[in-house]
């Protein structure tokens, strides 16, 4: 177990290093902005003293390294300051938007993983069947077609042509507000259906293809022969085999969630879903830099943490992995 502990420590140090690097890259990037933040507020009516007082207040007159240290400290404690335009601390906005993004991707992920596992397991078990061929071909197609175009198509057909579903947003005007109220409301699910299905159509291909190939591997194992010798039904044997084939899926899901968190900006824009990606796009268009900075940081952090989870789970769930 000591080997594992050493691995965990090393992995955490690496995480800290990468976070520090990303924070530093971001600091340099936002330093490169033309003008300083006062430029956005200040108009000709401001006297030089007023500008200076404002700069003093924001610490812009301090030496760069002091600003850097303060910046890193603030970022690490999630103190993102105030938005230039929305009268709210950025940290609150971020919490809100992360929740909204999760409201789109978590249901889609659950459906993708559960359904994908089932389909992939059966496809792998029935190697060479028409079902396997159809599954693999469909998965590869869905995997390679750009999902934002699928989103646009879905919107054109189901929202604009057929008018079956709303064209965007998370709830309708005057819809439910609180988290649980929303989840309990029909309105939210109706709005989720279209972006959710588009997301599933892409994300389901990962578990399907993965489960299929890992099933092929498990299928040749000796323990299945023993089960067969015990006289278990085909159905029970598939269950046993699937449980073993699931191992690589656990880490895959963690990584996939991280990538999805940053990659679904496109769907949030297409379906006007008020998530963190859309917030970043709007903040950049409005020059609301505290919000943009925080959104970029939060998206990077979520991905990094999920990758960490994936790496650590790998050793925990599969006892065959050693770290010595």
């Amino acid at each position: 177990m000591t080997g594992f502990r050493r691995y965990v420590v090393r992995r955490l140090l690496l995480l800290a290093f990468v976070v520090w690097c990303i924070l530093s890259i971001m600091f340099v990037l936002f330093q490169l902005l033309p003008g300083d933040p006062t430029a956005i507020f200040v108009d000709d009516n401001f006297s030089p003293e007023m500008i200076d007082r404002q700069k003093q207040l924001w610490g812009l007159n301090d030496p760069l390294w002091v600003q850097y240290l303060r910046y890193v400290g603030n970022m690490l404690t999630f103190d993102f300051g105030n938005s230039f335009f929305q009268i709210e601390p950025v940290a609150h906005i971020m919490a809100d938007k992360v929740q909204n993004t999760c409201l789109m991707i978590v249901p889609a992920l659950i459906v993708s993983v559960v359904l994908g596992t089932l389909i992939g397991a059966v496809a792998g078990w029935r190697r060479g069947s028409a079902f396997e061929q159809a599954t693999v071909a469909t998965s590869l197609f869905l995997h390679s077609v750009p999902s934002f175009f699928v989103g646009i198509l879905a919107l054109m057909i189901f929202a604009y042509q057929l008018r079956w579903l709303p064209s965007g947003g998370m709830v309708g005007l005057g819809g439910p507000e609180g988290l649980w109220e929303m989840i309990a409301s029909r309105d939210y699910w109706v709005h989720l259906l279209l972006p959710g299905l588009v997301l599933v159509s892409r994300e389901i291909t990962g578990p399907i293809l993965l489960l299929r190939s890992s099933m092929l591997e498990v299928k040749g194992s000796d323990f299945l022969d023993i089960l067969r010798a015990k006289g278990l039904s085909e159905h029970r044997i598939i269950t046993h085999a699937t449980r073993n084939a699931l191992l690589p899926l656990v880490t895959y899901v963690a990584v996939m969630t991280g990538l999805l968190f940053q990659g679904q900006v496109l769907l949030e824009i297409i379906f006007a879903w008020p998530g963190i990606g859309r917030e970043l796009v709007q903040a950049l268009n409005d020059l609301d830099y505290p919000v943009a900075q925080a959104a970029l940081y939060v998206m990077a952090l979520v991905t990094l943490l999920l990758n960490l989870v994936a790496d650590l789970l790998y050793g925990v769930i599969d006892p065959r992995v050693t770290y010595d």
Partner: protein, 308 residues
């Protein structure tokens, strides 16, 4: 993963012969790919796109930003497909077909440049990192970890909105995003290659690090690099389209992503399908054709992927 074969008597063969052997091996690889049905279809579509890109000045009836005027000298806005404009016009009166053809040029340029750049960079880093090991490996691999930690689309949006958006910047960003995968894969290949007898033989024959690395090890990882060039073209085109669609592309070129962005902003999804579908379908067909090719390549290397 790859079927890397140690070349026969590498220490004795001259560099020219070495190169000839490598080329012959890849040529036979192409023949194997052409036996694959999906790969052939993919290749045919790619050739079609290349032809469209090269012949765009001859084929396109209008320039990428040229406004179409009707017989009454008025701008032809949002005209549905017809004899005059085969794929209709945009809200600014530009010919969709022409934009589509010019867009193929941009897609090809972005795809090729970003793929070549990233694979060159990634292969170099992977080779050096895997071959020398030690602190060089440590530094380069931590750099790779950092590159993996940067979320591409958000990061690229921030950079392009701080700097002036240009196609060159988009290509650089894609390279920055893509090299890391190649670097890791090539490095792991080199780790196993450098312990093979032919490397010892080369060393015993007095070859220096540079010679061993570039003449003896590099040719063996080239098939993988080629695979990543193809994957890079696909990813590069996708990323440029995504970035442009979000409104962070170069407004001075007409790419499929820029077209989709303009159509989306103008609400063409409601009213002008002929403006939305062509760029979307072109992008999908292009990306998928390359995917078909790379998938076939991977299936040849690893038959287990195939559904028989």
């Amino acid at each position: 993963m790859a079927d890397v074969k140690a070349p026969v008597r590498p220490a004795l063969a001259g560099p020219l012969r070495e190169a000839a052997v490598a080329v012959a091996r890849h040529a036979s690889g192409l023949r194997v790919i052409l036996r694959h049905r999906t790969a052939t279809v993919g290749l045919a579509i790619i050739v079609l796109f290349i032809a469209a890109a090269v012949l765009a000045p001859l084929l396109a009836p209008y320039g990428p930003f040229e406004v179409v005027y009707g017989p009454d000298r008025g701008v032809v806005r949002l005209s549905p497909p017809g004899a005059a404009n085969w794929l209709g016009t945009t809200n600014q009166g530009m010919d969709v077909l022409s934009q589509l053809l010019w867009g193929a040029r941009v897609a090809l340029a972005v795809g090729l440049l970003s793929a070549l750049g990233s694979v060159l960079l990634g292969t170099l880093i992977g080779l050096v990192s895997g071959y020398f090991g030690g602190w060089i490996d440590e530094v380069l691999m931590r750099l790779t970890d950092v590159a993996y930690g940067v979320p591409f689309l958000p990061f690229a949006m921030v950079v392009t909105s701080i700097a002036k958006p240009s196609l060159a910047l988009v290509i650089l960003l894609v390279i920055f995003f893509l090299w890391r995968t190649t670097a890791r894969v090539i490095r792991s290949q080199v780790l196993s290659l450098k312990t093979r007898p032919f490397v010892w033989a080369a060393r015993a024959a007095g070859a220096g690090h540079g010679k061993i690395l570039f003449l003896h090890i590099a040719p063996n990882v080239l098939p993988l690099s080629f695979l990543y060039i193809a994957i890079g073209v696909q990813t590069g085109v996708m990323l440029e389209a995504a970035l442009s669609f979000l409104g962070f592309g170069d407004p001075h070129v007409q790419s499929w992503g820029i077209m989709l962005n303009a159509a989306f902003q103008a609400g063409a999804m409601r009213s002008a399908w002929w403006w939305v579908l062509p760029p979307g379908l072109a992008l999908s067909a292009f990306v998928m054709s390359i995917f078909m090719l790379t998938r076939a390549y991977e299936e040849i290397l690893n038959p287990r992927l195939k559904a028989i």
